[in-house]
């Protein structure tokens, strides 16, 4: 199939970027989206040009490295998948495809389609962990956890930290990510001890990184490759109020 790509090209973090039109010819419909970019890049390199830079790693939808906003939607309009799981058969021959980096001030563009998502790492470092004695593994059933809690904690833990939620949000809010990471631990008994400091720490880091504020439009939920529910945002709000009150009177 033959496609017209409109790709964001930016030489470096400080450079001005612009959209570049690139023709992608003879693409197999069995190729994945990233394989299509690989083919395009090979041709660009053969012609002595600068290949399109983009993030990728496992190409199995589990690492959270790949990004790309495809036709205005992070990871494309296909629900519940990452860009690497998108196949060219979802497009039609002759289509024009817009490929842009994840847009948010807290995700600065490094080059072309690559963005710096280390702000997420700093949010995790601000509370997305539990302090436990390491050593011999504890018996899995030594702490009984209700099935419902375990399931819902696991749903939150499915977050791969790709940043699509931020990219889809018109406010570049990271509430779905922070909500998922906080409730993943807050729902489990092991996470209770540090629940309040976790919520306050992560929300403060989120604000400090310059992410926006949730306006409850749930675009994040619609594009999340792991289909994490915006219920985690409600829980984060609830936990934040409780933690703020406790901190004020303590």
């Amino acid at each position: 199939m033959n496609l017209t790509l409109k790709v964001w090209r930016q030489a470096g973090p400080e450079s001005e970027g612009s959209m570049q039109t690139i023709e992608a010819e003879g693409i197999s419909e069995d190729a994945s989206f990233l394989e299509m970019l690989d083919v395009v890049n090979e041709r660009i390199v053969e012609e002595g040009g600068d290949p399109i830079h983009f993030d990728h790693d496992c190409r199995e939808g589990i690492c959270g490295a790949c990004s790309l906003t495809i036709n205005g939607v992070p990871h494309s309009k296909q629900q519940g998948i990452t860009t690497c799981q998108l196949h060219m058969r979802k497009f039609r021959d002759g289509d024009t495809i817009w490929i842009e980096p994840f847009r948010a001030r807290a995700f600065p563009v490094m080059k072309d389609l690559m963005v710096d998502r280390s702000s997420f790492d700093r949010i995790i470092a601000a509370g997305g962990y539990i302090d436990v004695r390491t050593g011999s593994a504890v018996d899995a059933n030594s702490v009984p956890i209700p099935k419902e809690d375990a399931d819902s904690a696991f749903d939150s833990a499915a977050c791969i930290g790709c940043g699509a939620c931020v990219a889809a949000c018109k406010n570049a809010s990271a509430m779905l990510f922070v909500g998922a990471k906080a409730s993943h631990l807050n729902k489990l008994p092991q996470g209770q001890v540090q629940k309040d400091e976790r919520v306050l720490g992560m929300v403060r880091q989120m604000d400090a990184e310059g992410f926006g504020n949730c306006t409850n439009q749930y675009e994040c939920e619609a594009v999340c490759p792991k289909e994490i529910s915006a219920d985690v945002i409600g829980k984060l709000n609830r936990d934040y109020v409780a933690a703020t009150v406790k901190e004020a009177v303590k």
Binding site: A104, R105, N213, N216, D231, V241
Partner: protein, 285 residues
């Protein structure tokens, strides 16, 4: 001599002790103020804190709208009932009640606007550059125009207060209840006010935008206050839309009824001014 020295020492000690006490007291007050103000400032500075203020002030304003509508609908029961209700509002708590409410509403409104404007500015800055090709998956139209629907409703509110509360138009201000000429004829004023098609049109447009604002706002309030869960999310959305539509229907029913002639001023004459009614009574005597 010794005694004098001793007493001098005592005086000095007492003085020093006093200043120490006083400075300790000032320090305690300072600490108390800091411990009170610090959480308030950090709450305001946090993204979720400002949103909670928006939700709480919004909830207060929605409760006011429900009460306001219930009062307004008395217009359909006739002049006496609405004017009695208006008189009750103005005389409640020796005339202080209405001012307590007004101040409360003003505080809620100022908080709601200050926080949303601050949030919107932060949000625009957080996004930075926009997509060349933009698309949305789920966001409702109402949710995309919240700041604009809100600001147009604010403009309407200013007009509405000048129109029916301050009554800058003497024709509306001087209307007297024919049965009790010492009180204002609110019922007549409402009907006369809405007989102006431009006033009715602005009212209906503003209330339609308010309905749009609330259809997203009420459901958002549940989420921001942490009341939206897997079990309650559908209910919160339905409550938001149902309440918005119910308020819209209720409020616009009045200008629509006036415009279509269903609600008319009776022959007792809504155009009678206080002065003319009193003159007529004097003439009778």
């Amino acid at each position: 001599m010794e005694i004098r020295e001793k007493s001098g020492n005592y005086c000095l000690k007492f003085y020093l002790h006093g200043t120490r006490l006083a400075s300790g007291f000032v320090r305690n007050i300072k600490q108390a103020m800091v411990s009170l103000i610090q959480p308030v400032i950090s709450f305001w500075n946090s993204s979720i804190g400002k949103k909670i203020l928006v939700a709480l002030s919004g909830a207060f304003l929605v409760f006011f709208l429900i009460g306001h509508l219930a009062g307004n609908l008395l217009v359909f029961t006739g002049r006496g009932a609405l004017n009695d209700y208006a008189q009750f509002l103005h005389e409640m708590g020796h005339g202080k009640g209405v001012w307590i409410f007004r101040i409360g509403l003003l505080v809620a409104l100022v908080l709601h606007i200050a926080a949303t404007v601050a949030l919107t500015r932060q949000n625009r800055s957080a996004k930075g550059s926009q997509y060349a090709h933009n698309a949305t998956m789920r966001a409702s139209r109402s949710s995309k125009i919240m700041i604009w629907s809100g600001l147009i409703v604010l403009a309407f509110l200013v007009f509405h207060i000048f129109h029916f509360t301050i009554r800058v138009n003497p024709e509306l201000a001087d209307m007297a209840d024919p049965a009790q000429p010492e009180r204002h004829d609110v019922w007549g004023m409402v009907i006369k006010g809405f007989e102006n098609p431009l006033v009715s049109l602005f009212y209906i447009v503003a209330l339609t935008l308010l309905c749009s604002h609330l259809s997203h706002g009420i459901a958002s309030m549940f989420q921001t206050l942490g009341l939206r869960t897997g079990k309650t999310k559908d209910a919160s959305k339905i409550i938001g839309i149902a309440l918005a539509v119910a308020l819209w229907l209720g409020f616009i029913s009045i200008p629509v009824a006036v415009m279509t002639g269903l609600l008319k001023a009776d022959s007792s004459g809504y155009s009678d001014t206080k002065a003319s009614v009193i003159e007529a009574q004097i003439a009778k005597q």
